[in-house]
């Protein structure tokens, strides 16, 4: 055990740290952070439109007429439907910002580049909404990263600055600084589009979707992938590293898309396709924070007499209700604590399995809404399932299981501590 820990500390932790601070992954994460309020707005709009409560639906229709849902639909059009465009700008902005370069210009050039390679809708000269939502995320992120890298490099190149004769105000000369870098960056993407068409690929988005995105999402929507995410996240936290923060780029690029497909199906009244989504983890697994630690707090209240644990539980209970658990993780501590490592990883793994089965079997509806990760359990289960009490019930089941798993470890830790104390005395 000690050997394994030493090995992980030596090889796994530095790699995780590097991933967590890698420039482009950080830019992707921060880019999504910017658009998250807009995504929430879209998600709530869909939820309000589709809450499966008949009296509510009847009331809204009688009060506001048949078209009352168009308001929510428009909010969706401005959020989920154009997610790839929004995040393309914010990611390239953040890449350029990390180089202390002209961030707004990089964002604009990136969005221009994305539009340059997008195949207009076939029937009319129109923006293909098919690719501006989450389905176009991979291409969008790729363009954001590449175009901002190219743009920032060119902007730093003194040979691309137009020399102005003396007497021209420096501000004017400066305004031309982005001219050549913008032209070159946009041209690269325009040429890419030209060459792919010549090579027989009319729609880059469709190609990427068929060969990369669709198979990957199919793989992501499996119990294996859900367990991998749950396991890696908690292994990172065990070493005191912010697991969810490090995994956030994956969560957002992959598990936002599975959610997006669900939301679209929910809106259309069709069968919901995906089980594993971002809110799947937030609502059913990370209750009280990573490690489902709200159940550890409850286990302490039920089983522990130790003053130190109880005072920690008192301090951690409030933030824990909103899924903030650093006091538990560093206060217990769970970090590098071999006793608590077992339940800290087991509870989320077990709740992932139970939740997956509950959703796959149809007992609990699949997730169809994005919620702030700070939404307290019970409420979050109701909301993410599109207003189903079964969502809250599943959370209660998971909470009880969590408490039952944590309890013996709390007792064991307490016993070891008392033994240690008497030995020392």
């Amino acid at each position: 055990m000690k050997k394994i820990m030493a090995f992980l500390e030596k090889y796994f932790v530095p790699i995780a740290g590097r991933i967590g601070s890698q420039r482009h992954l950080v830019a992707i994460r921060d880019g999504f952070v910017v658009i998250m309020p807009i995504i929430m707005a879209g998600s709530f709009a869909v939820l309000i439109n589709n809450l499966p409560i008949a009296p509510y639906q009847n009331l809204m229709t009688s009060m506001l007429g048949e078209s009352w849902k168009s308001f929510g639909g428009q909010v969706w059009m401005g959020s989920f439907a154009v997610m790839s465009l929004l995040v393309n700008f914010t990611i390239s902005y953040n890449v350029a910002k990390s180089y202390n370069s002209n961030a707004v210009a990089a964002g604009a050039v990136s969005l221009a580049s994305l539009m340059a390679i997008m195949q207009p809708a076939a029937e009319a000269f129109a923006i293909p909404y098919q690719w501006t939502g989450a389905v176009g995320l991979f291409v969008s992120i790729f363009v954001a990263l590449v175009s901002s890298e190219v743009f920032v490099r060119l902007l730093g190149n003194p040979r691309l600055v137009i020399k102005m004769p003396e007497g021209v105000p420096p501000a004017v000369a400066k305004s031309f600084a982005a001219l050549f870098p913008s032209i070159i960056t946009l041209s690269i993407f325009a040429l890419l589009k030209v060459f792919t068409v010549l090579a027989g690929v009319t729609d880059i988005h469709a190609l990427v979707n068929d060969i990369v995105q669709a198979p990957l999402l199919k793989l992501a929507n499996s119990m294996g992938s859900a367990l991998t995410i749950a396991f890696v996240n908690h292994l990172l936290w065990f070493f005191g590293l912010h697991g969810s923060n490090i995994l956030e780029p994956v969560m957002q690029t992959v598990f936002m898309q599975t959610l997006d497909a669900n939301i679209s199906a929910f809106q259309a009244g069709a069968a919901i396709p995906n089980i594993v989504t971002k809110p799947f983890f937030d609502a059913f697994v990370y209750m009280g924070g990573s490690g489902t630690t709200i159940t550890l707090i409850a286990a302490i209240y039920i089983a522990s007499k130790r003053k130190q644990y109880r005072s920690l539980a008192n301090m951690a209970a409030g933030p824990g209700l909103f899924n903030i658990n650093e006091p538990v993780i560093f206060g217990m501590p769970i970090v590098l604590n071999p006793i608590f490592m077992i339940p800290f990883i087991c509870v989320p793994v077990v709740t992932t399995i139970i939740s997956y089965i509950a959703l796959a079997s149809g007992i609990v509806p699949k997730t169809v809404a994005m919620i702030p990760w700070t939404t307290p359990p019970i409420i979050s289960g109701y909301l993410v399932t599109g207003g189903s009490v079964m969502g809250s019930l599943l959370q209660i089941v998971n909470l009880i299981i969590g408490i039952a798993i944590y309890m013996p470890f709390v007792l064991m830790a307490e016993k070891l501590d008392t033994e240690k104390a008497t030995e020392e005395a």
Partner: protein, 101 residues
């Protein structure tokens, strides 16, 4: 007046600590400003802070943060994890003040 900036992933758990540090400062009659931000937001506050402390869970951004604050020679450090877990405002305040000396 000195300004202490606390940074973690979402600026949530560090905001818990802000209240505790302010209280500790008040008790000792120390005039400081303490605020917490998310990692993503932190780059907008580089001109305000006199010292930057990171939550131990994001200690992997230490080098990045140091580079970001280098232009004003602002000290950057990671908060001791035991103090962080117990939300020990007094100890973290001391750490911040010592760094600014």
């Amino acid at each position: 007046m000195k300004t202490i900036m606390l940074v973690c992933s979402a600026g949530m758990s560090t905001s818990l600590l802000v209240t505790k540090m302010k209280k500790a400062a008040e008790e000792q009659n120390i005039d400081v400003e303490v605020f917490a931000v998310s990692e993503a937001e932190s780059k907008n506050y580089t001109n305000q802070a006199n010292v930057v402390l990171l939550g131990p869970q994001v200690r992997y951004i230490l080098e990045k943060m140091k580079a970001m604050m280098a232009f004003r020679e602002v000290p950057v450090a990671v908060i001791n994890s035991a103090d962080y877990g117990m939300m020990n405002g007094k100890a973290v305040l001391k750490q911040a003040l010592d760094l600014m000396k």
